[in-house]
């Protein structure tokens, strides 16, 4: 990991945390859709990130969000689960060495299909554990599931949007 990549990741960390707590946490589409776009940080960590670093980064990321939302531990555990799953998801969906081209996972390097699988699975894992931990009862199981699915879709939309906005410039 070069120092430039490190700097980018740190900047991205702060930007995403503040974007989440200042704007997205106040978004409540239809009363129950909350996007958790900040997980984009975990999606975009470089391939070369050591696994312990993944977990540590997820921990710090979740903690930063929890401090602002006053739900200590909630986002941390969801982020940890997502970071833990990341290497396995990568292994499962990669067919050859060309899948891990470049520095960080992106549509430009891995293609739409790979990136879509990658982000859909990880976002779903994160949102699923987050919503069920937060609600913590099975009485509203299906309603919660609908919330999870819709919020995941919305987060994915934001992820894809920013992929095309910021990271596809290299194509031109």
């Amino acid at each position: 990991m070069t120092s430039r990549t490190l700097l980018y990741n740190i900047l991205r960390f702060f930007f995403l945390v503040f974007f989440q707590v200042l704007i997205l946490n106040h978004v409540n589409l239809g009363g129950f859709i909350n996007p958790y776009f900040y997980v984009y940080f975990i999606l975009l960590l470089p391939f070369s990130t050591p696994r312990w670093m993944l977990l540590l980064a997820a921990f710090v990321l979740g903690w930063s969000i929890d401090i602002f939302t006053n739900t200590l531990g909630l986002n941390i555990s969801a982020c940890l689960l997502m970071a833990f799953a990341r290497p396995f998801v990568m292994m499962a969906i990669s067919s050859g060495p060309e899948s891990l081209l470049g520095d960080t996972p992106s549509i430009r390097n891995q293609g739409v299909k790979w990136f879509l699988y990658y982000s859909v699975i990880l976002i779903f894992i994160h949102h699923f554990s987050l919503f069920y931990l937060e609600i913590f009862r099975f009485e509203e199981f299906f309603f919660t599931l609908v919330r999870v699915l819709l919020s995941s879709a919305f987060t994915l939309l934001l992820v894809l949007l920013s992929e095309y906005l910021f990271y596809s410039r290299g194509n031109k």
């Binding site: 312990w52 921990f59 200590l72 531990g73 940890l80 689960l81 833990f84 290497p87 913590f136």
Partner: protein, 277 residues
């Protein structure tokens, strides 16, 4: 030992993840009250079911005592009924009166300020015109009177307590319906003055004074107090007495506002007739 170390090293990712996830969940359940209580309630529902069973059994052993308490309570309540139906020869009146009484609306309110140590005492209630309270309606506590509303705002009402210079309550003797006036001269908040007691009434200490229902503010029959002493004035038209208020004005918590639903009709009837026309 070396193998163990290697094993940990090989699989450190899983252990690290488990460790951190545990830490985060411990944090989560410790710092978030709802999840904490939800976790407790699972264990409580088990212990609660056991406790419920045992308290249900032990209730059987207490049935004898419970029966005794209930019988005593029943006897006490029965003994009150004849009192309530005191005037048997006025039974029709009583019935009619009870129909009229259905036209009274009761609104419960909390006393948020009160005084008993001034010459003119007022109370403030936490309900006002938004709740249907208007000027000149009565305030009671149980079957005892407190005062009347003299001013209302949307959320509060200002009540002139009976302990006030301007408060003149129309009362009557419960035993013979003779009308009297009840006032307060200041001083002791437990004692008031009964004025205009007709000469011919034979009264004794302990006679009960109730509201007459003449004023349209209070329904008939609410307790004002009991005669504690009286003075026969030979050279005046009326006797005066002292009354021990039934209401303890110093410990008012929740009171009821009585609203006469037929007040308007009564007022209209009164004003419809002008003598000499």
């Amino acid at each position: 030992m070396r193998n163990l170390f290697l094993f940990f090293r090989q699989h450190y990712f899983y252990f690290l993840f488990l460790l951190m996830e545990t830490v985060s969940l411990v944090m989560f359940f410790n710092y978030n009250e709802f999840q904490k209580s939800a976790l407790y309630s699972v264990s409580n529902s088990v212990s609660g079911a056991v406790n419920d069973l045992f308290s249900g059994i032990s209730e059987y052993f207490g049935l004898r005592r419970t029966n005794r308490v209930l019988i005593e309570e029943m006897a006490r309540l029965h003994s009150r009924i004849p009192e309530a139906l005191y005037a048997t020869d006025l039974k029709i009146y009583e019935k009619k009166d009870s129909v009229v009484r259905l036209e009274y609306k009761y609104i419960s309110a909390k006393v948020i300020s009160n005084s008993t140590n001034k010459r003119n005492n007022f109370l403030m209630l936490n309900k006002g015109s938004l709740h249907g309270i208007a000027n000149h309606v009565g305030v009671i506590i149980g079957n005892k009177i407190v005062g009347q509303v003299v001013s209302v705002s949307p959320h509060f009402s200002w009540v002139m307590s009976m302990l006030n210079k301007d408060s003149h309550i129309s009362g009557k003797f419960r035993k013979n319906n003779q009308l009297v006036n009840v006032e307060w001269n200041g001083g002791n908040y437990r004692k008031g003055q009964v004025r205009e007691i007709p000469k011919h009434i034979r009264m004794v200490v302990g006679d009960t004074i109730i509201t007459s229902g003449n004023s349209d503010i209070f329904p008939e029959g609410l307790l004002i107090g009991t005669i504690s002493s009286f003075r026969i004035a030979p050279d005046e038209n009326f006797n005066n007495g002292e009354i021990l208020f039934a209401t303890d004005f110093n410990s008012l918590g929740y009171v009821e506002v009585v609203i006469d639903m037929m007040r308007k009709e009564k007022d209209e009837l009164r004003s419809s007739f002008t003598p000499g026309k």
